[in-house]
Each structure stands twice: as C-alpha cells, then as structure tokens.
C-alpha cells in the first residue's frame, strides 16, 4: 500500500503599483508591449541598486498574518545565483534562511472533513522575465521580455501535508480566495499571476522516510491541478509497483493530453550560492506596523462562512459558496439587508442559483452585473410577499440582468403581479365551488383529487395571476367550511 505525500509551493505575484525593488509599474504581462515597464534596476544595468517596496512587504504581511504565521521581525534578502536569460542580474533576490514569516496554517474542508495544512514559510522575492521561444520556420531564437522581471512575488510553502489531489485543490482554492479577499492577487491561474506547484512523492504506508519527489509545473487551472496530482500519483505508483524507480525531476502538465512530461531532471541538489544581498539591509518589521496590518485584515472566508451559518441560518454548502469571493459575500449581505422580510436562505438561493446561472451564461462577473443587491432584494421581496410567482420571477430576473430595469417596472409592464388579496381570491373560490356542485359532491364523496381540479378552475379564472398558495389555502378553508 503506497501513500502519496504532497507539498505545495505557491508563487503569487503581488498586485502593487510598482515592482519589488524599483519604481517600474506592475503591468499585465500578458497584455503590455514587451519591455515597456523596465528601468536600469530591473534590467540589471551595471551599477543599479534595489530598494525594497514597502507596499509589497505590507501585502506579504497581510497574507502571512491571514495564514496565522509568526512574523520574522528581521528578515533577510539573499541572492540566489544562477545564469539564465530571464534573470537580468544573474541572481534572483529572494528571502532564504530568514523568510518574512513561518509556521502558519490553513484549515480546508474536504469530502473527508476538515484538514489542517501547515504553512512552513512565506517569503518575498522578485519575479523573472518571460522568454518566448520562436522559430518554427527559420533559425530558432528566443525573445526576452523584462516587464515581469522584478514584479513582487510571494512564495507560500506548505509542509507535505496533502494526501490527495482533492486536498491540494481545496487548499489552492481556499488560498486563492484569501489572496483575493486581501486584495493582493487576482488569482488568475491562466495568466500565471498565481502559480501552484505541487511536489509529489510516494512511500509505503507506515514508512517515515520520504520517497523521491517530483515537482509539477504548468498547472493553469484547478482542474489541471487536481488531475495533474492524480496522474502523477498513479504514474509513480505504477512505476514503483513494477519495481522501477521514480526519478527526481520537474515535470510539466500537458493540458491537452492530460499527462505529465519531463521538463528538467535534477542531478543532486543545485548550488545557488545563496548569500545575504549586501545591497539590502535586513528587512526590519516594526511590531506595531504588523499589529496595525493585522487589525486591518478583513473578515476572511472561513470566519465569514461560520458567521453566515450562524447569523443567516445557511447550510455549509451555501455559506461556503457565498463566501468564496468577497464580492459575492458582500452582495449577499447587502441584498439581505435590503430585503428584511425575505428569508436569507431565499436570498442565498436566488444568488447561487439564478444569478450565478445568468453570470455564467453571460461570462461576466458580479462586479459588472447590472442587478445591484438592492434590485435583487426587491425581486425576492416580491416573491416572498407572494406578489409574483417563482416562474415569473425567474424571467423577470433575466430581464433585469439584460436591461438593468427594476423588478417592479418589469412586473408592472408585463402584468405579472399575482392576486394575493384574500377577499378577491375568496370570491373566485366561492364562484368556482358554486359553479361546480357535482365536483364538490365528488370531493366530499372521497375523491380528494378533485380538489386539484377545482384549484385549476380558480387559477384559470384568475388568469394565472392569483397567488397559488393563497388560492390553495382559501380552497381548503372553504371546502372545510362546506363540509361542516
């Protein structure tokens, strides 16, 4: 029986205004014209020197504190030395022996219940440039874009606490959600601003020594992450069961073929000749500053989800769904506040069901949505007061979503308002019973299904605009009255 041991390294670009060590703007490197956000510092010009971007440190601290880490009050930037065309200085400035923070944790929920994932360290470093290999026709060459070089990167490393691809995915999604809550990273895996790199090894259950580790890169979606890990577990397990050895290497994930492939084979431990960067004094964090940042942390997804369950009586699933994104949670709370008479659960269902459906179909986000929380609240209010029925409400929301009009005006212009007036409905019921004595008699004779037919008659007489619940109640009442 083989047990998979999985650890995770996450690299998150910090969405600061400027780069980690210079004043160049942080741009969307998938969009910007190459080499337009570059200066002597991030281009590694002779004589240029780095200066730490305080905002990047603040962002890093936000994450470290949100993950419950111990903050290192004097961390050190080191030089990680290696030659590569995407590394203009010939070394990457990265924290090494003294990272920004250590010993955090993140609790995730899985189908097997809650799991605690230990965070080994959180450290700051700079991103490298981007290489584009060209040359299908003609001589091959490589283009270097330094727009990305020097963008602040936060590396978040876990202990090898994962056993399944599902856990890895759960952690990655939770972490992404936290990063987005903290406003430090957009969480866009496709653009590579958030890079998740699992390392997978297998060992016989019960053995303490770890097996040979394989690192997986190019995982551009959560689906790829889960599948990549599962594939790698299977691949290694097959190898070991055939009596073969696992090679220590870095593999890439081939999205199309859903397999991993060798990228780089590690021969022993690479020597990066790390040493403290003499250009940067130790990064001293004043305790008061860290405390200030901690105090200003927003309510995080886990806490918010717990509160939603308690305050609004939501179940785990809905609470989780509503709190995964801060925007959704805020939207929900604003809608609940604007619809005091509606059950929060009902508001939740309208958001996670109909509204999410519309957003998905349109491929837009809540931020761009033309239905503000107050408008959704009005719609839910109409439904909960019985003024329109569920089916009408769905089509009204569809129209609100495309036109941005209010629920009231759509209901009015389409004549969808339900009759909930008990007196009017009572009259209709009375009329139906009076006009159909044979069916009433049959009902009292024991054919209870006739009640449904009578209900249909009332609804038809009301041209579908009567509130079905009120009709049903009134019909039951009058039938009972007649029986007596």
């Amino acid at each position: 029986m083989l047990e998979p041991i999985i650890g995770l390294e996450v690299h998150a670009e910090l969405e600061t205004q400027s780069k980690m060590f210079c004043a160049c703007p942080v741009v969307d490197t998938t969009q910007a014209e190459p080499n337009t956000a570059v200066c002597p510092v991030c281009a590694g010009m002779p004589g240029a020197l780095p200066v730490v971007n305080r905002r990047a440190v603040e962002y890093g601290l936000r994450v470290a504190l949100a993950l419950g880490c111990e903050i290192n009050l004097a961390s050190i930037f080191a030089r990680k030395n290696y030659f590569y065309p995407d590394l203009p200085k010939g070394y990457q400035i990265s924290q090494y022996e003294q990272p920004l923070a250590r010993n955090g944790r993140l609790v995730i929920s899985t189908s097997q219940g809650e799991r605690v994932i230990r965070i080994r360290l959180v450290h700051l470093e700079e991103d490298t440039g981007k290489l584009t290999h060209v040359g299908q026709a003609g001589p091959a060459y490589t283009l270097v874009d330094l727009n990305r070089a020097g963008i602040p990167l936060l590396e978040i490393v876990t202990e090898p606490d994962f056993r399944t691809g599902e856990e890895v995915r759960g952690y990655a999604q939770s972490l992404r959600s936290i990063l987005r809550y903290l406003g430090v990273n957009s969480g866009d895996l496709q653009k590579g601003v958030l890079r998740i790199e699992p390392n997978v090894s297998l060992r016989p259950a019960g053995q303490t020594a770890l097996g040979v580790k394989v690192e997986i890169k190019n995982l551009n979606s959560f689906r790829a992450l889960e599948r990549g890990v599962a594939y790698e577990i299977q691949r290694q397990s097959d190898l070991l069961q055939r009596g073969e050895r696992v090679r220590q290497e870095t593999v890439g994930w081939d999205e199309a073929r859903e397999v991993t492939f060798t990228q780089r084979v590690k021969e022993g431990d690479e020597d990066y000749h790390y040493f403290p960067d003499p250009d940067l004094p130790p990064l001293v964090i004043e305790a008061a500053w860290a405390e200030e940042i901690r105090a200003a942390l927003p309510e995080l997804p886990a806490a918010k989800s717990l509160r939603f369950r308690e305050q609004y009586g939501l179940n785990d699933y809905d609470a989780g769904l509503l709190t995964a994104e801060r925007e959704v949670a805020d939207y929900f709370e604003q809608a609940v506040a604007a619809a005091p008479e509606a059950a929060p659960k009902m508001v939740a269902n309208w958001i996670t069901g109909e509204l999410f459906g519309l957003l998905n179909q349109a491929g837009t986000s809540l931020r761009e949505c033309r239905v503000p929380p107050s408008a959704l609240a009005s719609l839910v209010g109409l439904v909960s007061r019985g003024e329109i029925n569920q089916n009408s409400a769905k089509s009204v929301l569809g129209e609100m979503f495309t036109t941005g009009q209010s629920a009231e005006s759509i209901v009015a212009s389409r004549g969808l308002r339900q009759v909930s007036d008990t007196a009017a409905i009572a009259a209709l019921v009375q009329k139906a019973l009076a006009e159909n004595p044979a069916q009433v008699a049959a009902y009292f004779g024991g054919k209870e299904a006739v009640a449904q037919w009578l209900f249909g008659q009332v609804m038809r007489a009301a041209k579908g605009q009567a509130n079905p619940q009120v009709v049903r109640a009134e019909l039951t009442r009058q039938l009972a009255e007649r029986k007596d």
Partner: protein, 500 residues
Amino acid sequence: MTALTTLSLAQTAAALRRGDFSSRELTQACLARIARLEPALHAFITVTPELALAQADAADHRLAEWRRLSPPFSSFANGGGPGWGLLGIPIAVKDVLCLKDVRCTAGSRILENFIAPYTATAVERLLAAGVVILGKTNTDEFAMGSSTENSAYGVTHNPWDMSRVPGGSSGGSAAAVAARLAPAALGTDTGGSVRQPAAFCGLTGLKPTYGRVSRYGLIAYGSSLDCVGALARSAEDAAIVFTSMAGRDPQDATTLDVPVETITIRDSTPLADLRVGIPQEYFVAGMQPEVESAVRAAIQTLEALGAVVEPISLPHTQDALPVYYIIAPAEASANLARFDGLRYGPRQPADGLWDVFRNTRGERFGAEVKRRIMLGTYALSTGYYDAWYGQAQRVRALIRQDFEQALARVDVIAAPVTPTTAFSIGAHGDDPLAMYLEDIFTLPANLAGVPALAFPVGFDSRGLPVGMQLMGPHFREDMLLQAAHVFQQATEWHKSSPMV
C-alpha cells in the same frame, strides 16, 4: 593658460566667482594639458571634450548670473556656501561610475561598447553643483587591483616617475589630479583604491564612511565595501567634493540618513583636543624604512600642533587580508554575473546559450577578474559557505570591534597607507599575492566601514610621495578633514607636484 591648472580647487572656485577667468577657459586649459600629457600618462579611458565645454558654458552662464545677483565677491573669497564650491570646476570621473550617454567600461573589455543609460547619484549631485566632466579615468578591471595594470585599456603611469604605477584601482584619477589635468577626481575605494593611489601620487584621498555616499550607478565590485571617494590636492579641496556628493540616496538602501554637516575648514584650529592613536600593527617588518620614518615624522608634527598621541592596538589587523579576499570576491562573483553578453556589452559568437555565456565571459574578463570570481564562487559553495564566507563575516565583526574599541579611547587613528612607495610597472608581474599585500593597511577601514583620509607626508629617496592615513569614527569625515587641513597649513608636502 597652464597657470590656471596649478591652482587648488578652492582657489579655482574663488577665481571663477571673481571672474578672473571663465570655466570655458579653465576647461580648455585642462583639455589642452590632457592632449599634451595623455599619450605618456594614459590617465583616461575616455575624454569628453564636447560635453565638458558644454557644461563649462552652462556653468559660465550660472556664474554670470551669480555675479549679477550677489553682493561683492570679496566676502565669498573662500566658500560662498554649499553648491557654489564646484560651479564650473573640471573634474575627472573614474570609469566605474555611470554617466548618461557616455561609455562606461569599468576597465573591462566586457563593457567596451557599453553606453550608460543613466547617471550615478554621486556624479549627478556634482553635476547639479555645476561641475565640468573632463572624462572617465583608467581603473583596474572592475576596480580589482592596486596598480591599474589590470585595466584592459593599458596601464596608467605615475606622473612622479613614469616607469612606476600610480596605484590602483583609482590610478587614472590619481594620475590625472597629480599631473594637474584636473583639480579633483572621483575614485572608488573597496580595499584602498582611493587612498593607495593618493599616497602613490602625493594626493589627498578620502574614503568616506560606508553608506555616506550613494553607490547607485557605481558598477559594483564588493558591495558591502565599495565607497565613492574624492582625490584632490588638499583636504580642503577633498572636503568640497565630498560634501557635494554625500548624503542619503533613496536609490541606495545602504546609505544612511545622517546629516552631512557643512565642513567648515578652519585655518587656525589647533589640534589641542585631538587624541591620535598609533596602531602598533601598522608598523610591520619589511615595510620601506622611508615610509615608516616619514609617517612617524608626520605624527610628531601632529603632536607639535597640539595633538595627544598614544599607542593603540588593532589586534585583528592581519586578518583583514584573508577576510577581504573572501568577502570582496564572494560579492563580486554575484555582482559580475550580469555581464553575460545578452543585454549589453559585446557578445562573443557562439552556438547556443551556454556557449554565449562561456565565450563572452571567458574571452572578455581579464585574469584577475576571473580569479576573484572563482575565489568568490568557491567561498559561497554549499558545504564551504560556513567555513569561508560565514567565518569571514565573523572575523569581519571582530575587525569592526577593534575599531570601535580603539575609537572609544582616541579620536582618530594615524597609520601609513602603504608599506612602500609606488612600485615599478610590472614589478608584481605574475604574483597576485604580492600585489594583494600592497593593501594590508587600507583593507581594515573598508571592512570596518569607517572613514579614512590619506594625505602626503613626505618623499622617499627616489622622490616618490609617501602617504599617511587618518581613520576615524563612522560619519566623522569632518574630523579627519579638519585635522589633515591643520597639518597641511603647517606643512608643504601637499603643495609639491611632479615635473610633467
């Protein structure tokens, strides 16, 4: 016109303000002297006459404006406030400091066509003060050396004896000032590279406190040791250059926010309160006797001027050499990694990426640079790091502690700059160790980060200048400059100049 170039910087500045001559006339005189002496001296890698004349004209414009708006010049004969002392003054800049749109080689073939895209902060500040830049001076490749013999652009000759080296690595700057091609020059001092050439060329050379002058735009050698300094003909002149470029720079995180006091050099201040420590470890067997006697005589002069002299000990002095030759090369091995032929500088033809790196670096770095890159890379290797780099840092702390303890007892420390006067070109040939020993008296101040000032105190029997250095507490350059100034008021050594 040659007479213009014989004045000190302070005298020149006063004359410019009075309008005795224009900055253009002065600059032309310097350029004419450069044209005449350069073929034999070779102090410059690049001369920038068009730039210099344009800057001189701009300075003349500002000077005319200043004369129009200011009270009679007589009250400004010496001084005139910060920012005026350098207006229109020609200087030379060591070719490791970037100057926008001008070639910057660092004495290396790996940068032979590199045009700097920006200006170093120290240079920028002098430009703001109105200096005229004559050109970029010769240096040992990447400032690694003590003679300029490691320059890829040929050796500079010592104006006192053309068969000898001017010292290094700021040898070009020292030769230029000594030969009166410029009243002052910028150098850099990582292990003595301002002070040793100052001593060899009979100049006053200041290595400021580490972190006092911005390194932004200085092509790095040993980042924790590199200091931008000034070479001039007197302490007073060095003070003017130093105060104009010192101070915190937001672009260099290692500069410190200690205010730069205007150093008012006072002619009549006695040294009555000055306690001068003489470290026994700096008077070693094997040093040239004339150096020792000149330095001891200078100490007596200080005493005669009122200083209180006492023997002190800096017990870790001998450790400075091995510590330096681990730390500086380690830092250099990373600092020089960016020279890979990809983004700037010439690229050696090769098949494939790794051969581009190998060929470019292999063919374009000189032997000494490669030696230090290898030394440094080794010292940082996994498994050896703690024994070499780690241990060197620990001993460095002891050296720093030596200075702290000594400077708690005395105000300044006086010592020779070099064991010998200028040596002959080629004397150390293939013996790097002998060359390294030239720096044993200058390395400790760099490792401790303290300021040190070298100035001339005599000549040997061959007529070669002998230097002495004063070392002081962090950020007390003013104390060193003031003491040297009082010494120079009482002596004539700094006024001698070579017959070139």
